[in-house]
Amino acid sequence: MAANEEAVKYVWEGAIPLQIHLHKSEVASHPAPPPALVLAPRIGYLPLLVSLIKPYFKDSLPPGEDSIWFDYKGVPLKWYIPTGVLFDLLCAEPERPWNLTIHFRGYPSNVLIPCEGEDSAKWNFVNSLKEAAYIINGNCKNVMNMSQSDQEDLWTSVMNGDLDAYTRLLPKLKMGNIEDKFSRKADLSSPKSRQGGTEIDVTEQVVKTARIPVRLYVRSVNKDFENLEDVPEIDTWDEISYLNRPVEFLREKGKCYFTLRDAIESLLPEYSGDRAQTSGEEEADGSQETRGEIKLVRIQGIELKLDIPFSWVVNNLMNPEFYLHISVLVIGPQR
């Protein structure tokens, strides 16, 4: 199903209210500054908010150079993950406003890759875009061939949450058409496929495996729960499995009932409904593992029903760098 303008606008306008506290070890003024209240775009990144936040705290900071990072309940936040994804993943029960702590000193470089503000966020965005392009088109020529100024403008449109500017720039990006991957046959006469498809082999579109850029974040808990507020807090990133892997599926002519469930199960076969057939292997002590269960799937803050066609999800809910970020909460397999 094609992208719905209204849905895409909804995604771009999505934002998370943040309440940012200065870490107590860095409060050098009395009284301590109150927290900063900031509305963070879901498709944006934390380093882009620093210019909004810093004025609240600059008078309270101890002397020295800034090296800025954020934490949520002691867990350092990975700045290159879109803010909305961090929220969906780390807050089982959505917390509004979301209370984060900002640090201007003591960057945990043993766990976080360095961040030099906006430049790092931009580099990360362009790199992800190249990787997505490679997955969709089989090469990243379309990104490499974009002029520096067009690339700049594309990034700026994302930074500013300017969907109109982004949409105007998309044709310059010449990203292969994702819709065609789901359609019944390559439609040569449609202007859309011509625009995106000059470099794509038509037979490839019709016959081969389609690949969709997906980043899957899996949080596993040990026990079942009634309510989301009963899900324990996260202590470290080691509790989360990150899968940066394209969803692949064979395009069958005339059919595409590939659902979100199909997509997730292709990446997490241990949660597949068919597991009963293949997991006949018993443990050494004769007991059998019960399969794990997918409790929650969140994309752009929406808890999705798994029967939704994957094509709709991709076309409407992907991020500007053409990646679909999926947060999953599962009950791990029990022994």
Binding site: L112, E131, I135, E270
Partner: protein, 223 residues
């Protein structure tokens, strides 16, 4: 994909192919590269795909002696010579050094990239107190030929990124163009233009990539 298509003709490899190639690479290394410790296969436990195992190759605690002045490249090659001369079993964490030399330890992981369908080399360096080495320091440990290669080439460059599985910053050698030079290797290695058999894929790949980080493989591995 059928097993005959494990190494796709355009220089890329599938996940299944990578697992096979990794085992073959580790075996050959063990047999022919006695001056180094063996690679180990690290399975990804929480992501075992039913019957298909996923994982990566790991070679850790490789010591590069670095003198505080002068070039490091001769030193790094000397390390390997020392190893093969010793009769006793190798304790990979023990180091022979004089007071002027500072020991740098390196870990290397060969990880499969599902996006680019090629292997990627991740590495990190640290001193004996565990403190990570910066890229500038690491570059001084690399052979001078690869430093100029890195600076001048569009293909190979090193960036600091998060290790795909370990939640820590590592350095990564960029894969740009990997499938192109693997294709070139396979075309030149046999007259009938056959593709590289999956068992030799990683060996071929490493014969190029390893050189960038100063790890050479003996010719016998390429057979």
């Amino acid at each position: 994909m059928d097993s005959a298509g494990e190494v796709v003709n355009d220089g890329k490899i599938t996940l299944e192919g990578f697992t096979v190639a990794a085992r073959a690479f580790a075996d050959k290394w063990k047999r022919h590269n006695l001056s180094f410790p063996p690679w180990s296969w690290v399975p990804l436990i929480n992501r075992t795909m039913l019957k298909k195992e996923e994982g990566y190759l790991s070679l850790e605690k490789i010591i590069i002696l670095s003198s505080l002045e002068g070039s490091a490249e001769e030193e790094s090659l000397d390390v390997t010579a020392d190893w093969s001369e010793k009769e006793e079993s190798i304790d990979h964490t023990v180091l022979v050094q004089n007071e002027e030399d500072e020991a740098h330890y390196y870990d290397y992981h060969i990880v499969y990239s599902a996006s680019y369908m090629v292997p990627m080399l991740y590495f990190r360096g640290y001193s004996s107190d565990g403190k990570p080495l910066s890229l500038d320091v690491i570059k001084r440990d690399l052979p001078s030929s690869s430093v100029s290669l890195l600076l001048e080439s569009k293909w190979t460059f090193i960036t600091q990124e998060e290790h795909p599985y370990l939640n820590r910053p590592w350095f990564k050698l960029h894969p740009c163009g990997t499938e192109e030079w693997i294709k070139l290797l396979s075309e030149s290695s046999s007259s009938d233009g056959c593709q590289i058999p999956v068992e030799l894929y990683l060996v071929s790949w490493f014969s190029v990539v390893g050189q960038v980080v100063g790890l050479k493989i003996p010719r016998e591995m390429l057979i």
